[in-house]
Symmetry: D3
């Protein structure tokens, strides 16, 4: 455990409010382990609730973007922000959702060289601009997305995901949040 | 209204869920106008609820940082991200909370030259690093804060505020969110 | 007063050469106070004379650019250079010359989102390139200006103003030049 | 296959000079496949010979750096240069040489957060400076390495590896060199 | 002649005001040719007068910095700004004033590797910070200069020269100002 | 001699392997002096052989690029990397190969303002992108070169030269490799 991780260590699970403990147990039940993002945020129950409500609103609901595409945005922007937790954990989710064991590493290293469609490339170009230079986003950027059939609501979704992980990446980098070992191999080999 | 602002125009107020309409009316009652951030986010009720819950958890509760100090973080990082809404609206709030008509402009232009204490300078140095290069935050940065008496919980607060406005700034820049005219003068002249 | 400001404190007014003292008194008479840029440069009479002669040649004479437009260039480029004195003092002058209490803050934070004409936007795009990457200015940039009706002499003016404030911003940042308190409110409320 | 990869497609193997064909067959024999870097460079026999002679002189001979440490330098600097081939292929080699299935992904995303020793951290700090800002390397950087026991020959090795992959990364990015599918899983699961 | 140079071509010499024509003739008399900076600025007599008055106040008067040291500042900062006229013309002057045929090229390429004293290195480190990031200049930078014996007036001089050439470099780059052929060889071979 | 140069001083010539000593003597015979790059690399015979084999494959053989054009690539990219040895030594070679005493300084300071053809400008634009941001090279860049008649093999050559000097520049900057005094004047005055 790094010094940052010790500094912001997770509270003991039995000291947590009921709803937060319940969410931890549910994710443990489903995944077989508790991803560290849940443990780190548990230090602050109100922020925990807001963070995951926001996350679920963006990543779990219906959208013009597929779930795999949304994870592509997370992986590409989190790699630019050098966030270990987000690249490795969401890389795993991307592999599973895209049913593609190679795509996450390709997008993390250089999304411009990844095996994605031109539409997905346009989506990631925009997401990267939101992540790294949102102050320069202009009508020309919207037009490039519209040319690939993205609606205004799709644009909002791309923006909101890139913006939400701008927050997550910073929290993870400062708190020294580690990707659980389980994530590294997930989606790389056929489930047994 | 810019093209972006039209693209992501606020929904009609009578189409909104009750809780969101209630919050809009409450803020209108308190401030005399509805800040545009409420109108823009109203397009997405679930995101609205998570966004403001997160905001309030960071900016309204008790903390080792004063409310004015928290607004300093918002203004400094939002200026680096060139976010019109956040610099102008939170600049107004900072002037009011610090009871200082000059401080917001000073911090927005160059926080290193602003009339702040060495402790506040250390706080803003850290917040700026979280905002612009969180991947490089190290134990040396934590030590610099500890030397000014900041606790680990204070460091979390600084981080979380800089991270939350990394999200807000991106949403505001892409949606073309405008600062309401009322904010520009607020806190500059004695209230009548 | 910051340490830098003390380091480069203004000389006593009665030690100044006659022409410089006269200029200080004239500006005091006209404005009701002596802007700090006059006091700081008074340390070096020859540089004072050259600096203000250059300033007046660019900012006061007739030009294809209105006086408000010239101040827009000052505010936009000085904000990019994080110059407290220039953004706040010339922001005041811009508000007055444009008769618009909002425009200076908008341009200082993100000129791409300010309420300006497309012609003014092209002017500021060029001025920012001169300020931040003049080595890359090319015929394509001149063509973009010509498309908005700017003449070669207008282009010279935009360039020279951005270049002159590249000098001013550096002098003000190193000498710790402070914006006088009077500037902050100027042009924000109707003159009484 | 991307357009770049087609543009710089490998020549037919039976058109190659004997020594180059022999090396391709040897690596095929040893690894079970021919890594694409061999195929791409085969287009230019003289450059192929010089490239691999240089590579082997740095990566295969005895050195004060372990083979795993040398691969760490490759992965960290290639990630900064966003080189798909090098990060994924040498990530595989690093996992094998370090007998650690997690280390390559950690270093690729943010080497500052990876599970490495302080000595390895100093090595990578220096390698990254060579890769990204060699013009600023100074005696202070050498002193930081000496403090961890690195000799002048070790410093040469770190420098030469970072420099050689500065070359490799650029060739791979422009030629659209793809990481062979086999690399992605190598070193992640026990060899059967 | 490039397109920019044609765009901002020098006016016919007999159309110039007397004092400006006199200065051109004086410099022609002294140097054997008229450096292009005089011809380009002649387009604007008031700016010409202010520009050269400022230049002479900084570069010709007595100062704690030798004339060669002042030219070092010009060459180092103008190289960072990629200004052909200033690097080549002032490189010539530097060679002559330092009586050193190698120094200008060394400083232009990488002043950190040039054959200069530690005091001159500190002077150029500061000048480069003024030129490229004046907004970050702090007391620590002044202390580094004081440690080498630089007075506050010396610091002003370093700052003012870096600031003045921030202006000059931008004017030269936009106007396409060319270094006269005579400058390239000047100071490289013994005068005959 | 700087500290770095001492740290990586050349081995005594009589301790070198025969083939390397022979190459040193040959270049001494031809040029009248031994360029320092040969002495520095002699420390590592295997790397010496690979380095010069690679160099000669790129710079000496037949190519769609003239030898002068290849040296332009070296000078432009080495200037961006602030490499004293490469800019000054290859600047000399460029002057000789182009039979133009001005071209090297022009390209070193700002290749966009140099007296080169539009085709050479396109070549250098691409080389600079390879040198500074190869990860962003795309089909649009190849198309820009094709429009000037560059073949795929020419593109490989431009890329490989920019990539090889990315390596060389880093080695020279870290080892403190100095340009021999002889290079500074070479090609500036008619050979006697």
């Amino acid at each position: 455990m790094t010094q940052s991780a010790k500094r912001f260590a997770a509270p003991a699970i039995d000291t947590l409010p009921d709803d937060i403990r319940a969410r931890l147990l549910a994710v443990q039940e489903k995944s077989g382990f508790v991803p560290n993002v849940f443990l780190t945020f548990a230090r602050r129950p109100d922020e925990f609730r807001a963070f995951f409500a926001y996350h679920d609103a963006l990543m779990e609901k219906d959208s013009g973007l597929s779930k795999a595409e949304r994870e592509m945005i997370v992986v590409a922007t989190s790699a630019a922000n050098q966030c270990q937790y987000c690249v490795i954990a969401h890389g795993a989710i991307l592999r599973i959702r895209a049913k593609n064991p190679l795509i996450a590493d390709q997008i993390a290293v250089n999304y411009r060289k990844a095996d994605i469609t031109p539409r997905q490339r346009a989506m990631l170009d925009f997401a990267m601009k939101v992540s790294r230079a949102a102050e320069e986003v202009s009508e020309a950027d919207f037009a490039a997305l519209a040319a690939h059939g993205f609606s205004d609501d799709d644009i909002w979704d791309i923006t909101a995901i890139a913006a939400f992980f701008a927050l997550s990446n910073r929290m993870a980098n400062v708190t020294g949040m580690r990707a659980n070992d389980e994530f590294y191999l997930m989606g790389r080999v056929p489930k047994q």
